[in-house]
Amino acid sequence: MVGKKKGVPEWLNSPLWFSNLSDDRRSSRYETITLSPEPSSPPPAPPQPEPSPSRPRLAVAQRSEIGAHSGELSPSWSSPEEESRESQLLADFQITLSSRIINLGELRRLAFQGIPHGVRPTAWKLLLGYLPLDRTLWAHELEKKQTQYYTFKDDLLLNPSEITRRMEDSAGSKNEDLSCLSTGLLSRSNIVHGEHPLSLMKSSVWNQYFQEAEILEQIDRDVKRTHPDMDFFCGGSSLAKSNQEALRRILIIFAKLNPGIKYVQGMNEVLAPLFYVFRNDPDETNASHAEVDTFFCFVELLSMFRDNFCKQLDNSLVGIRSTIEKLSQLLKRHDEELWRQLEVTTKVNPQFYAFRWITLLLTQEFNFSDCLRIWDTLFSDPEGPQETLLRICCAMLIFVRRRLLAGDFTSNLKLLQNYPTANINHLLHVANKLRGPTVD
């Protein structure tokens, strides 16, 4: 077939999709790959060969809970070949991460295949540009960022009473203690900088506090309903509470430092996986300052996708509308039949499904562990996260093309808004194939 193709690309018809093969990217390493039949019920997760036992077990247990209801588990837990592949990958990572100057290209290449749980925090911090590539600089960098964060906390998280008290202390006024003054009229003193709770002045800390109260309430509400099914985030335990408090602080500080976008609903969903991964770092010292690391990585991550959250940019060349349009064009280029079916025949406007996919970086479409896997690829791809995200979304559409081609508006919309569980490795493989100019 030459010129404009109208049918399905050849590689899509490959037998790859009819077997439950493990990732064939690694097939060159191993001579034999046995087709292990997919177990009908999910097996209990075998103990992973992880560096330190405590933290990863928590995550693995949750992963198996979450994966329990999905029909198709990623085969990485079912065969011994997979386990040895995992340990090989882990070893590769550890070698790359132990060199003095880390080879970013090598890290990206390894991360593309999925990062083993134990090294994920460090890998993400490197990929997002938070940690410098020179290992010797890490301690200094981390300390700098920690002091910066504590300054932010100090400055931005105070309530107005405390701020006015500080102003007074610096202005040198003294308090009257009830016990030391026996009787008499209490003397009136001047207020500092014209600050009083009912002040309507724009510069007043009180006024600003009340105006921000709405945003704070919104943040509070969203944090409380982040991932209600996960014990890490929700539930009565003190761990969950402290995690929620940390999320809350990060979002408040971010909103105050970025008056341009402040807080938009959904930012909590983008923040949650970051915090989860860093908090469950097997290295205890790293996990203890997870909040600081999460904050700066969150800033990095959002700076790549900032334009999606800015309302004024919605209709501009960089806003969310044009990103969705790009996705549409990508689909048209790779699979015109499907594109025609969706846009023209069934008239499923991509804004109905792609908006959430793109702004929330697919956190709502897949279960938590799959989402972490997708983010591994998202961060590691040299093309950049925006482009990679669009390719993954396109792959998601192509993956369910048969059902979409057979459906009408209602069923298609329903399918895309509740995307079915899929084999993530296959999905990412398809996304990879969509790279560059038209695939033939």
Binding site: L186, I191, P197
Partner: protein, 190 residues
């Protein structure tokens, strides 16, 4: 950080038509957590207005209040402080600090809020503090015609109270404050 408004002796509509505009522009809903009203509103419309500022409204009965159901005294606890509320026309001599001290000991409160004299006062004696927010409308009192509109906003933060006094002098709002702390809860052992 709890904001408590102490206000009273408005005498609307008999002696004053309304709160001064500058006060009204400052008193917006959503900022104040509690209102302690010393009484003499006098009508239901004023009650509704105060209720719109803050749902937690406490009123003590003044001698001209049309609603007879308000209590004579009221006590409540906010944070670490116990506050008492009474209009003050019952305490004779009116405005006498020793007699008010007696009432304070009787109610066993740290801060007593009273009115009736239409003059702002903040006074301390061994049992605690007495605050008189004055008249928010500047209505004439039984004692004098020379009244500046005033009210009080208390910022209760742990063991510390900052009392902001809002007075309308010559058409301008003047704000002062009074700062005091109390030592950790001392129970009267008598």
């Amino acid at each position: 950080m709890v904001l408590v408004l102490a206000i009273g002796d408005l005498h609307i509509p008999h002696r004053a038509p309304d709160l001064p505009a500058k006060f009204k522009s400052m008193l917006v809903p959503g900022k104040i957590q509690h209102i302690l009203c010393t009484g003499n509103l006098c009508i239901k419309e004023v009650h509704d207005y105060l209720k719109s500022l803050c749902p937690d409204l406490h009123i003590a009965r003044g001698e001209y209040d049309e609603d007879a159901r308000y209590p004579e005294n009221k006590t409540l606890t906010i944070g670490q402080f116990k506050l008492g509320l009474c209009h003050g026309h019952q305490i004779i001599p009116w405005g006498d600090l020793d007699s008010l001290a007696m009432l304070q000991r009787q109610l066993d409160v740290d801060i007593l809020v009273t009115g009736h004299t239409h003059q702002f006062k903040a006074y301390k004696h061994e049992a605690g503090v007495v605050i008189n927010p004055g008249s928010a409308t500047g209505a004439y009192s039984s004692i004098t015609y020379d009244v500046n509109p005033s009210f009080v906003l208390m910022d209760i933060d742990g063991l510390r109270v900052v009392v902001y006094v809002y007075e309308l002098i010559d058409g301008e709002v003047k704000v002062d404050k009074i700062d005091f702390k109390k030592t950790a809860n001392t129970q009267s052992a008598h």
